[in-house]
Amino acid sequence: MHIPLYALPRPSRRSWPVVRRNLLVWRKLAVPSVLGNIAEPLITLVAFGYGLGSLLGTVAGMPYIQFLASGSIAVSAAMAATFEALYSAFSRMHVQKTWDSILNAPVALDDIVFAEMLWAAMKSMFSVLAIMVVIAALGISRAPTMLLALPVLVFVGVTFASVALVFNALAKGYDFFTYYFTLVMTPMTFLSGVYFPLDQMPSWLRAVAHGLPLTAAVEVVRPLIIGQWPPRWGMPLALLAAYAVGGYYVALVLTRRRFFR
């Protein structure tokens, strides 16, 4: 009679008012948020890209600043979604009890989890758009294929939000998320060919790297940002999709268990 714990996701159109709720909160804080979205990549790109880049010359056949910018935009998409689906979703779910008040209305938990995933991906999109503006303004790249990178990066947001929601469902407090960032996210950024090419690493580590969603994201996004066609789409996108689908399903089951026991 109840939604069984393991039922497939059943999101409905009632997810949308929940997304709009989060959007309305964001709009109230949009100016500092967008400034942060622009300032952070601007500082990193100028400092590391030009500073370090002048020492390195070309990396993987392109100026280091291009290499860095086209890789770190994928990190930003992943980080923005992860942060939103951990800290922000947790404060709505657990601290402010916003989810509880929404559940008293005719909105199902499946709708809320779907909305949080969607919203976290939207946050990725805002962040990515800001970085694209910086990349274009600094003249790092103005390739039209950047526009194709946008939907891919939003999908990266979907993937990382879905995986992060698993840990949101398990969390007892914010401290838990610190582990996720230091033990999962930070090592992953170093293993995904963002800051240096993967062929610098021993072969066993490279094998690990090729199983990571961020590596897959960089593989597709980097060429599109600098105006090239990705050598392959299928495998990396399939890997991202696998993380997204698996993560989302596990997150939903765990969240149902958390709320309905």
């Binding site: 009679m1 009632r14 008293n104 005719p106």
Partner: protein, 308 residues
């Protein structure tokens, strides 16, 4: 007057959490315009019962019908007609009062025009017209509760579920809340409320359900329950001589209870006891009619229950 239509019926509800049975064979029904109060000590199963009424917890056995149809099979339609005020305010701290109402209205799928048309009336009802652009952080406890109530009314519900609606409010705020709830009953809405305040139960509720350890232990009108379970009068005796009085004059009452240094005499004809007390200077006493608090203590005992 013909009986109003039955809106809600729960039959033989049972719910376990692990090995403990939190709700045990609970049956109740609610008609339009009626207020049913659920009273019981902490951990009696009140909140769990409300959660089941909202489909947020599935009963292990038993059935719930809302508006004539099985609740779980028609959950969304049923919730479309229910308003909820939870035990703890869960207003959106980032939104103004107006935005809280607007955003909540969207969860019901209401068109923007309908919501905007209702907001002034809701703010008015909650006496928050001047606070429309204030955030919950700027409101007093009573204002927050009234905003929670207004939010629960945004869908113009037929049934309201209120979990301890006046806990933590000062007397003025409680009276204003009661006045508003009575107005809603006048409009024909049904209210199911849980409370720890016997004066609230007596004032608002047409019928009461006394539950303890998940079981219904009494049901009836406030006056009817008192008449059924209690002697008509109570004499409370305090002071150094209270214990002595309770031992010496126990025969003058139908029942005597002691709680610390206070003796409670439950009796039908108080004259003899009052005459015995009058000359004593070592006690103070209060003679009053029996009330719901006495009933509650008689049925559920005087011992303290831990929060659960």
């Amino acid at each position: 007057m013909p009986e109003a239509a039955e809106l809600f019926r729960a039959e033989h509800l049972t719910k376990h959490y692990g090995a403990s049975r939190v709700v045990d064979d609970l049956t109740f029904a609610l008609r339009a315009g009626e207020c049913l109060g659920v009273i019981g000590p902490n951990g009696a199963g009140k909140t769990t019962t409300l959660r089941m009424c909202l489909g947020l917890a599935a009963p292990d056995s038993g059935t719930i019908d809302a508006f004539g149809r099985p609740l779980m099979a028609h959950l969304r339609e049923a919730k479309q007609r229910i308003g909820v005020v939870a035990q703890f305010d869960s207003l959106d701290p980032d939104f103004t009062c107006r935005e809280n109402l607007r955003v909540y209205g969207r969860y019901f799928g209401l068109p923007a025009q309908t919501i905007e048309a209702r907001i002034p009336g809701l703010l008015d009802f909650a006496s928050l017209q001047s606070k429309a652009e204030a955030r919950p952080g700027e409101l007093s406890g009573g204002m927050k509760r009234r905003l929670s109530l207004a939010r629960a009314l945004v869908n113009d519900p037929d049934l309201l579920l209120l979990d301890e609606p006046t806990t933590g409010l000062d007397p003025q705020a409680r009276h204003l809340m009661w006045e508003r709830l009575q107005a809603l009953l006048q409009q024909g809405k049904a209210i199911l409320l849980t409370t720890h305040f016997m004066d609230e139960a007596e004032r608002l509720c047409d019928r009461l359900l006394v539950i303890d350890r998940g079981r219904k232990i009494a049901e009836g009108t406030p006056r009817g329950l008192i008449a059924e379970h209690l002697e008509s009068d109570v004499v409370e005796v305090y002071g150094d001589g209270a214990i002595d009085v309770s031992e010496r004059h126990a025969a003058l009452a139908d029942r005597v209870e002691r709680s610390g240094e206070t003796a409670f005499f439950y009796l039908r004809s108080p004259r003899a006891l009052l005459e015995a007390l009058a000359p004593r200077h070592d006690v103070r006493y209060l003679h009053r009619p029996a009330n719901l608090e006495d009933l509650f203590l008689k049925l559920t005992g005087r011992q303290i229950r831990d929060e659960s």
